[in-house]
């Protein structure tokens, strides 16, 4: 699903984002990306989304080489990846349902599909009752569920979460974790960057540890350490 080959990213001026990273994540895997702030987690995710190019090396996502991808194919590439962020990235002046619908609408889906899919996915994340609330009226955990719903509503083959539990208390985090786990069980590859030690240790999934832009550890059923 994801293949990084000798990927190096150097920001101007001479700040190393990633250095010689080789990672291969299979379809349907669940993987944690751990490390301190500045260890290269976000660089990894942004390279996946092709927000910028690596300085060296090649990245393949879902069988497509990102360096050889035409500019016009980029939106299509991003449609295949669901994204969840620490700060939710919800639109504050739109209701929960509209926030989820927005993602469908801007990718040109017909109104009928939107009307069917939005309640369905909100039911799935347990927010069926709060469809017409504004994000501000929801708890942080609920807001993150909306953001997960928006990321997953198109059933992407890859879900990327960048510290999705960073702003949440431990109990709420568990709920989000469970949601991501359930999504993974449907066959979706999940890559989650985090420094939530407890969570990683509890899940016993693959752990890729980064430090100073290098992979220092990559083990199945790993611990945070």
């Amino acid at each position: 699903m994801i293949r990084f080959e000798n990927v190096t990213k150097i920001y101007d001026p001479n700040i190393v984002g990633l250095q010689d990273v080789n990672v291969h994540i299979e379809r349907g895997d669940f993987a944690f990306l751990v490390g301190h702030s500045g260890s290269g987690k976000s660089t990894f995710i942004r390279l996946l989304l092709k927000e910028f190019e690596p300085s060296r090396g090649s990245i393949t996502v879902a069988g497509r080489n990102l360096q050889r991808m035409r500019r016009g194919a980029l939106p299509h590439h991003r449609r295949g990846i669901g994204c969840v962020f620490q700060d939710f990235k919800l639109l504050p002046n739109r209701t929960v349902a509209e926030n989820v619908a927005y993602a469908l609408r801007v990718t040109g889906q017909p109104a009928r599909t939107i009307r069917r899919k939005v309640p369905e996915i909100l039911q799935l994340v347990g927010l069926g009752e709060k469809m017409s609330n504004l994000p501000d009226e929801l708890s942080a955990g609920e807001q993150q569920r909306v953001s997960v719903a928006r990321a997953f509503v198109n059933h992407p083959s890859l879900l990327v979460a960048d510290e999705p539990t960073g702003n949440l208390d431990p109990d709420t985090s568990v709920g989000i974790m469970q949601l991501l786990y359930r999504i993974n069980r449907t066959g979706t590859t999940v890559l989650m960057a985090t420094h939530d030690r407890e969570m990683v240790d509890k899940m016993r999934k693959r752990v890729i540890a980064l430090e100073g832009g290098k992979v220092i550890r990559d083990e199945d059923k790993g611990l945070y350490r």
Binding site: P75, H76, R79, K89, L91, Y102, A103, V106
Partner: protein
């Protein structure tokens, strides 16, 4: 469905940022208004010149002292000219009546006139306007035409130096007795009229003869110099009005371009603020894989709307101002006669101009501030 989405987003931006939007709309309004009024002025000047052209080519004023025979003879002569399309005789009374008609409401001015000072005239229309000066020159030495001789050969002997025979076409002429040559004079040797071609230089000048071959000495007798004040051609007025029209065009265009640049920059700045206000939406759109144009369209439409709103207001304003100018002219200065620019053209150019300004403004902002 998509269109409605873009429309909604664009209108949302437009109203959220209304102070900037209004500023941008007003600049578009001003620049398009100037364009419209400039078009109105230019259109009417153009009309005026073509009107003059159609109305009259040559007007030959007849001496009050001319006999009826002379007048009839002149008329026959004009009719016989191959270049002439048609001809009208305007009597002294008719001329006065025309003046009365054109000065309606100001009869008091006419009341001050004693008798009828206006001369009778022939109005001549030509088949080809290029022949105006050729035909006009034939009347400079006519006895019936109200041309006053400037210099008479008896009082002011004229010396011709040089020989116009044997292929030569130029010679120098010197007038005696203090007569001065000016450009509106015509040189007449027997029945042949020659226009002063060179810059007249006091009492000497060069003349060119259309046909070389006759000995100049044979023509020194009976040589008079005439001014052309008894013959009027449409050309001079046309040229003058044309010049004014051209200045209007150049000056107006410069002003419109300046204002257009200001509008584009203001629109671009408004769009920039909108992009900033919607950066969250833009970020989300990028993340979920909206196409570049899907992200751009609302901003393009916002720019186009700004232009369209300004232009629509400008069209209305131009039509109102135009009509009130026409009202004033027709009631106070009826002899000028002004006409509105055809509304279709006005709509097309101003609305088109507004949309152009809007799209250029948003394109500028998108290029600089919307990284996709």
């Amino acid at each position: 469905m998509r269109f409605r989405f873009f429309l909604g987003e664009a209108l949302d931006s437009l109203t959220r940022n209304w102070v900037m939007s209004v500023a941008a709309i007003v600049t578009v309004l001003v620049s398009m208004f100037v364009l419209g009024i400039g078009a109105f002025v230019f259109f009417n000047l153009q009309n005026a010149t073509s009107g003059i052209r159609n109305k009259l080519e040559i007007e030959v004023f007849i001496k009050n002292t001319a006999s009826q025979d002379q007048v009839n003879q002149l008329g026959d002569q004009i009719k016989g000219m191959p270049e002439v399309k048609s001809m009208d005789f305007v009597s002294k009374d008719e001329a006065l009546q025309r003046l009365r008609d054109s000065m309606k409401g100001h009869e008091d001015v006419l009341a001050a006139l004693s008798g009828n000072p206006l001369p009778a005239s022939y109005e001549i229309f030509l088949k080809d306007t290029n022949q105006t000066s050729l035909v006009a020159s034939r009347f400079y030495n006519n006895q019936a035409v109200d041309n006053s001789p400037v210099a008479d050969s008896a009082d002011n002997p004229i010396t011709l130096a040089g020989d116009l025979s044997d292929g030569a076409t130029n010679m120098t002429v010197t007038a005696g007795g203090g007569a001065q040559f000016t450009k509106d004079m015509y040189f007449h040797i027997d029945n042949e009229v020659m226009r002063i071609t060179d810059n007249p230089n006091g009492d000497t000048m060069s003349i060119a003869r259309a046909q070389a071959g006759t000995k100049a000495e044979a023509h020194t007798k009976g040589t008079d110099i005439y001014s052309e004040n008894g013959v009027k051609t449409g050309g001079d007025t046309t040229e003058r009005v044309n010049a004014v029209a051209n200045y209007t065009l150049i000056g107006g265009s410069g002003f419109v371009i300046l204002l257009a640049v200001a509008s584009v920059l203001l629109i671009s700045n408004t769009i920039r603020l909108s992009i900033f206000a919607r950066r969250r939406e833009v970020e989300i759109m990028r993340l979920v894989g909206a196409t570049n144009w899907f992200i751009r369209w609302p901003f393009v439409m916002e720019g186009v709307f700004t232009g369209l709103l300004g232009a629509t207001a400008a069209v209305i304003l131009v039509i109102v101002v135009q009509n009130s100018i026409i009202d004033v002219i027709s009631s106070q200065l009826s002899f000028l006669g002004a006409e509105a620019v055809p509304t279709g053209w006005l709509l097309l150019s101003i609305i088109g101009g507004g949309i152009l300004l809007g799209s250029v403004g948003s394109a500028l902002a998108l290029r600089r501030f919307l990284k996709i």
